[in-house]
Homo-oligomer: 219 residues x 4
């Protein structure tokens, strides 16, 4: 599993979001690898119309239908057929009670859940909610040139140990600094089930080549 | 001017958002009144595709293109042709420095700006940023049965006085509890330039009738 | 163990904080029960000067020494000999990464740690940080007339099970609605190690009698 | 008027807070200049006991007496005889409705009010609440080596113009990067009524000399 977080980069919002989404879909089909994408909340519905690979939301608020202005409602996301929800990214942390709320509701709505954690103990703590995926991303490595699997392999190993003890069925993704096939291979060797990427892909000179290399290493 | 805030009500999200948007468009054409709508952030792009009346976003974050997950970027909204941006609703307050950031950028992007205020002094403070509209909404009246124009007319009058002293070209809308034509007439008599409505319209038994009555009173 | 949260009630701030602190100290000595108190952050240093029972802070921010205005630094609290720190109360939730930061630093400073949780799964999640105490308080029962041990005994039982599985040495306190000796007895029967109280004590007509009854039931 | 913000520096918390407070008091008496200090919230009551110069709080929350844990109540601060309150520092921004709440209540409690602003338009906006002082501090200059009065004199001039138009009696302080007497002289020439300092004083090798130089330039 490989999730591409589009964030709010110029290269991956608006028309560019659909362009990259289609490239990801093409590579997913060629290599038969699960490539999922997380476009911006504004682009979400439009991107979903244009591709058939899994689409995740980058965030949701802990609300139900009601008098809430400017907030992101899970049921509203679901109505467009969005496949999953990512929460608690280090650029959009939410309270633990809100993580519990969102994961529980997403399951009830039959959506996939990915929860981000910045340390191994936090990944263990969040495993108690049994999300489908936990993505471990030390914030100091996000957007950098060295991947977590190379710079801090013990974080991956410890996270895997704790998560598997608490929620054996939860899969662990490796994020932050993943840039090439070697980073991916190292992550898989450590036991990770996949990767979470962003700038390494969407800001690459040749986006298709970048996705291809990472996805190919995941096979 | 009448802005309908769709919030995250079941009656006005997803397919229902498009339905109400089309009713609003129909009434706007019949009565030749400026009816604008603010669908949820998730519905924004899809609603805009379906109607030609002005569409506003309910919120935006104070960010530029970049490494931001789960946040709302004004340029991303603009790419779908969205006409305006509403910020600082009492259900989604933001910092004053972020209000300044958003209003300034929205103007540069040629988008309309509506800033919400909960008291007359706050409406005066925010007038310094010269938004197109200031909507005055005492939070204790939002969603209630008594309109601000009836319950607290002095807030409207004081807001108008302060806003006009500081930014004469900014128009003042009257929000909170507006439910019928009489509320609208009272608001106009006090000097307001229009109204901001939500549950009074989208949760009405007959939505078209509700919009018609309010819009008709605005003529 | 019984912790009295003084919150920001008129009855338990300023001079009143010292008054109640001394009553708590008197009862603690009479009954030989561990009664700890959490005065407001402003009263903290002054209360500590006046009593010898354990004093906790109601909150701390995830900062180190430095350029931080209006924030609460653990080292600053420690300098006054404060014994412990309570974090993540439902009236002052903080991010999970900040909980980890505070618990880790408080241990290094040799301070006791109490982390609040609103559900049994959250108490399990936070147990991973091995705090000295987890206080389980369903927010809907805080300040009410029915105690959690009577209204929702299963939350106590489930929390105990999860916490003991993840961090056997962490003690579990029972909060929300605890008003009399029977509530305490029920909590102890369920397996709780103590109680967290606030309005039930500090707003009682006879504060000494209220503290005595609860502390006596804890023996 | 000169306000020294102690922030949470090691050099100005705990015992060091009292030490610097006494130095400030000594210089204030020698030069007959109004030197006020803002120690950390934890140190507030203890510092006030030890000096007779005006003491400000670095922050307060928009609450009244009640069920609030870990928050800062103005009445609680006032009970220790604290003279004033500073809010909305760029390291502790609060919502505009909370600024209005705090300024209004502080006036009712007969406390001085200082509101921080990061741009000239924000200083104008906040002038509508008629605080005693507005401190203008561009955040990018805080803690730096170049003072706002030298690097961005137009911000001071514009702020003065706007503030005086909206609230003539409000005094304007100049913050960010003020390090020596020349910075102060330049600020006064531009029309400022005083200065807001922090690291330039509390992290100086010779604190007394640093305070003396700045205070002397204010005469």
């Amino acid at each position: 599993m490989m999730l591409i977080n589009f964030k709010n980069y110029h290269e991956s919002t608006g028309k560019n979001a659909i362009k990259i989404a289609k490239i990801a879909e093409k590579v997913a089909e060629e290599l038969n690898v699960n490539i999922s994408i997380a476009p911006s909340l504004i682009d979400l519905a439009k991107v979903k119309e244009n591709v058939s690979i899994p689409v995740y939301a980058q965030h949701a608020d802990a609300i139900n239908y009601g008098s809430y202005t400017g907030q992101i409602l899970l049921e509203n996301i679901k109505e467009y057929g969005i496949d999953g929800i990512m929460v608690n990214h280090s650029e959009r942390n939410i309270l633990i009670k809100d993580i519990e709320f969102i994961v529980k509701k997403a399951k009830a709505l039959n959506m996939k859940t990915m929860v981000c954690a910045s340390t191994s103990n936090i990944s263990g703590a969040l495993a108690i909610f049994n999300p489908d995926y936990i993505a471990i991303e030390p914030p100091e490595l996000i957007g950098g040139d060295i991947s977590v699997s190379v710079a801090r392999p013990e974080i991956i190993t410890e996270s895997l140990n704790i998560v598997r003890r608490i929620s054996p069925e939860t899969k662990v993704l490796c994020g932050a600094g993943i840039k090439n096939g070697l980073d991916v291979k190292k992550a898989l060797e450590l036991g990770a089930n996949g990767i979470l990427v962003a700038s390494g892909v969407v800001k690459a000179k040749d986006v298709e080549k970048a996705i291809f290399e990472l996805a190919n290493a995941l096979r």
